[in-house]
């Protein structure tokens, strides 16, 4: 375990030296596309030796999950230190060594609600990129009305017996484990009878089927549970209180999706400049004006993400207002990809060109993790206090 200084200026030197010594040249191209991302997991095929080296070195230093405590595979960094790490990685265009739902979602849930035993069992393999998780929330009858999940878990003493169907389970076909919302009390009001349960995808009775999207790719799956058994202790938080965990995680997910557009969380290249370079000039004044508007909004939303993080850091809860980031960030991302397509003209219409799949994929941004309309309803009721 690398020990980093708490002194910020010393830390900056240390992290700069560490990156210089440890981040392979090939990993310094700033690429964050679907093809270059490192998701990890038992079945992960590294796209290059450098990708594996980078993951191994970063995880050994705790830097795949920099803010997690060192006991669980992190580096125990403060938010200020994390900012410096991001700065310095940005400076050399370093790829993120590992990205996963384990890091973004299950990790934060376990850190908040898990037992010490669960944290020690599940967090380090996530940090090392050894276990890949997927999320089992939505069902055919539970989309925007997520609390209507019907997949059921029966208490069989030493295990839960699980039956049901999940949909939109991201990369379930590639995942090792799933964290799922399962109805464990059918008599209770719908929010009060759900548990947050961890299930090994290798268990008998778990099957997945990819769903082909309009973008041509299949990032989402249907996942079926037929008499699946999982140990009775595999519940995060209290039994029947899984909705609390789910809500907490949705907040995280919203922040993540809102920051998803390239460059939104600061520093990145101007989207307008990218457009300009790709098509040899934003000569159409209307397109140019739209690009300027999008730039003004992107920078301001990026600053809002920073401001909300600063608020959280100084103990001012952001809470339901995070729905705003999700709403504004995803709508902006859709706008930006409309601009990409407009700037690309007929060139962008060919599948080979590669712009169209990204454009099509963004259409899900304002649906997944809660639709824009659900976000607006959350804001109007819980932030503005409007009735109904």
């Amino acid at each position: 375990m690398t020990q980093f200084s708490k002194d910020l200026s010393v830390f900056r030197e240390e992290i700069r030296d560490w990156l210089e010594a440890n981040c392979p040249e090939e990993m310094r191209d700033g690429a964050i596309t679907e093809r270059t991302i490192c998701w990890g997991g038992k079945n992960w095929n590294f796209t290059s030796d450098a990708q594996k080296t980078w993951l191994d070195r970063a995880s050994a230093a705790g830097l795949t999950v920099p803010k997690w405590p060192t006991a669980y595979g992190g580096a125990g960094l403060s938010r200020d230190q994390e900012k410096i790490l991001q700065d310095e990685m940005g400076r050399i265009n370093a790829r993120p060594p590992l990205q996963s739902f384990g890091i973004w979602m299950l990790g934060p849930a376990l850190l908040q609600f898990g037992t010490e035993e669960q944290k020690l069992e599940y967090l380090p393999p996530i940090a090392r990129g050894e276990v890949r998780w997927c999320q089992g929330y939505s069902e055919p009858g539970a989309g925007s009305d997520l609390a209507n999940v019907q997949s059921k878990g029966e208490d069989k003493g030493d295990h839960w017996l699980i039956n049901g169907q999940k949909i939109w389970t991201s990369y379930a076909d590639k995942a090792d484990w799933i964290f799922a919302l399962i109805r464990t009390d059918r008599e209770a009001p719908k929010h009060k009878g759900i548990s947050f349960i961890l299930i090994n995808m290798e268990n008998e009775g778990v099957t997945t089927r990819p769903i082909q999207l309009i973008s041509g790719s299949s990032p989402f799956c249907e996942t079926f549970f037929d008499d699946v058994k999982t140990p009775i202790g595999n519940v995060v938080g209290e039994v029947n209180r899984g909705w609390d965990v789910a809500k907490y995680l949705l907040t995280h997910e919203r922040e993540m999706i809102s920051a998803g557009g390239a460059g939104l969380s600061g520093g990145g290249r101007a989207f307008g400049a990218i457009l300009n370079d790709e098509v040899g000039g934003l000569s159409d004044p209307i397109l140019h004006a739209d690009a300027m508007r999008a730039e003004v909004d992107a920078l301001s939303i990026g600053l809002t993400i920073e401001r909300y993080k600063d608020m959280a850091e100084s103990g001012q809860g952001v809470g339901d207002a995070s729905a705003m980031l999700k709403y504004m960030g995803t709508e902006l991302n859709k706008t930006r990809h409309e601009l990409v397509m407009a700037a690309g003209g007929s060139d962008a219409l060919e599948w080979e060109d590669g712009r169209a799949p990204h454009w099509l994929r963004t259409k899900a941004n304002s649906i997944e993790g809660g639709t824009s309309e659900v976000m607006l309803s959350i804001l109007s009721k819980r932030v503005l206090g409007l009735p109904g």
Binding site: G272, N276, A289, S300, L303, T304, M324, M328, L386, P387
Partner: protein, 371 residues
Amino acid sequence: MAKLVRTEEEVMLADAARGFLDGAAPVSHLRGLRDAGKTHDPALWKDMSDMGWAGIMVPESAGGADMGAAAACVLAEELGKTLVSSPFISTAVIAATALKQVADDRANAALAKIASGEMIYALAVDETNKFAPEASEMQAKKVGNGFRLNGTKGFVVDGGLADRLLVLANTGDGLTLFDLPTDRTGIKRDTTAMIDSRDAARVTFTDVDATGDDVLGTVDDAMSVLKPALQAGQAALAAEMAGAAAGAFGMTVEYLKERKQFGVEIGRFQALQHRAAHLWSETEVTASAIMNAGRQLDENPDEAELAVSLAKARATATVQLAVQEGVQMHGGIGMTDAFDMGFYMKRARVTAEWLGDYGYHARKVAHLRGF
């Protein structure tokens, strides 16, 4: 950089300002001035000066509080919430920042008079219907040891009540900033009745003589003094606009909770809930841009241009949305003069133009971002 969260000092400043303004200058104060055919309340400005607001950016050595741009933005936002009519931005922010760049004996004396509330300044830059300081054509011909100014400046905010003017003029090899008393021979001020019921003037200069002492900063180099002053003014104006947006939005949300149609509060209707939630989202995003502009001006002033233009562009879009939605969601009553929303709408339109409109600042952002 300091965090994008208000400091304790800033929170206290905002609370104190709100406490005073709710009593001394609610929107009805502006209405009262308008109905009396006035644009300015000297007693109010005196009270504000006594509380240290006129000197908020003035150095302590000249009797000010020297709190910086972020603090000025905090005050401006509170002023905006109830549309307080005062020369705060033109005098306490723009002129004070310009004078601070020079900081010679004469400038320090002027700063002291700003802080005490004795002296009001206005900025005379615009020559066409759009803000374009770099394109100023008004001539200040070099005559002997001095200058002779001829030309006209429009949209001189607070120009009717000002004691002094900061005048941007072309001196042949560049632009020069003059600091002139409004009673100088040859200066004629025509106050213009503005839609927002605030003071503004068209100022005509006919063979106005100026000396080297009247130049603020260096001849042919106005921008080294004017640019920081404009940036501070633009950031504070953006904050005032955010305050106005918050004022209009607050009225609107209250109305949604009270007004009943079809037997229920109209705030129960999803069509209106979503419009209100969208508007709130826009105000939150704009608040971040404004806070960032204040922090940049205080900590990294040479690099603040992008942050300032971002704030003014966002504030312009947001306040205009806020007043339009405000009228629409109020329905017919929003169109009546008896109701305050109209005051917000008119002020929003004026602030949208002053010191650069959306296009001016969005173009700056695009340029600074490389396209």
